[in-house]
Symmetry: C2
Subunit: 222 residues, 2 copies
């Protein structure tokens, strides 16, 4: 079983600890506040109140034996940095550190963090895409310059077939799936995913799931 330590049980840490437990991982939840540790005790494998900048306390709580540790402290960069260094010194194979800024991220990577997480910055990126190009319901960059995008079918594509639209030839975009309401007239009706048939026409309300280069998505009519 995968043993994971979560250090710092604010909004991010407490949700991560609970969710990992639900997924079957062995979770060691750490926070310096006894009250917070008590409130999470039933949701995780072990919960211990200690200061993560105290190497002996970390060792005594078994941190040297976990496969991965996520430092979810938010507001105290010194504590995040010291906890990261101590966990690597204890031999934890994978340490994920929360970085409050891009500069902090570079510092943490250079002192040994294997991965970085910044919940607020990552949410700001996702929402920027959703607000600036509202036809795009979601955009996920899965490689530099390449994204998966969900786009509502533009008005002038309705009634045309995928073969006829030549999206790959004209725009360099690959349609990987289509989302369509079970009942086309009912906006409350659940969306179902379908593999698109090249010869069936697009309908009002269709959502195209597309892959391609970011610059090619700009050529979809907004």
């Amino acid at each position: 079983p995968t043993s994971i330590a979560v250090i710092g049980l604010g909004q991010f840490g407490s949700r991560l600890a609970a969710r990992l437990s639900e997924q079957g991982a062995e979770v060691l939840a750490i926070d310096r506040s006894r009250d917070i540790v008590e409130s999470i005790r039933d949701k995780v494998t072990h919960a211990v109140a200690l200061d993560a900048t105290d190497q002996e306390a970390l060792r005594a709580a078994g941190l040297a034996d976990v496969r991965a540790a996520v430092v979810c402290i938010g507001q105290n960069f010194e504590a995040i940095t010291l906890a990261t260094v101590l966990l690597k010194q204890l031999g934890v194979p994978r340490v994920v550190a929360r970085a409050p800024s891009p500069l902090a991220a570079r510092i943490l990577s250079s002192i040994g963090a294997d991965d970085i997480v910044n919940p607020e910055e990552e949410a700001a990126d996702r929402w920027c895409h959703r607000l600036v190009a509202p036809r795009f319901l979601s955009q996920i960059e899965f490689h530099e310059g390449y994204s998966l995008i969900e786009a509502k079918a533009p008005a002038d594509w309705i009634g045309r077939t995928l073969t006829d639209l030549h999206l790959r030839a004209k725009l360099g975009l690959h349609v990987v799936a289509l989302k369509r309401r079970r009942d086309a007239d009912d906006p409350e009706s659940p969306l179902r995913i379908e593999m698109p048939s090249p010869s069936s026409p697009l309908r009002t309300g269709d959502i195209l799931v597309l892959m391609g280069k970011d610059e090619d998505f700009a050529r979809i009519p907004q």
Copy 2:
């Protein structure tokens, strides 16, 4: 041009406001702290210090004319709720509200929020996937039960071709792209994305970009 108001300039709000501006949107940045408003003034179109629970102050600052408003206040649920209600009353077409919990999300949706954002909870979900299935470098659920996943090629798939592996027939997984290092022996060499050829063998270090049902991904050897 798209006019967007960002209310509450903590880590999430200030990054969102700056990023929207970089993308060419007209940004109205709001916070009750004068110092915070001053520090962001150069990065946005307009910055105004006011209390977002004061309807007249919102109207005087021009909130009735924006296309979208994002309420990024973190710690005060009452303020998030009241600001959301007031913005809808002023006629803002799209209001995105930050919810500190799933219950808060339901309340905000029922009082008029068009979209919900919870940066910490969304990061906890993404990291749970990355930690529990480490072969999966990233997993994005783009529809209930369907994901895009990046997976390192398992050892027993190396040297075999995609046609030979029958991923679609056997596992229901569609390989949409392949990431491979420009120089296979150098882990610092940049990853390049390629469209996979069905008859060329997988190499050590290859990363497969796959789409399919979540339950089918569980059948990839970890």
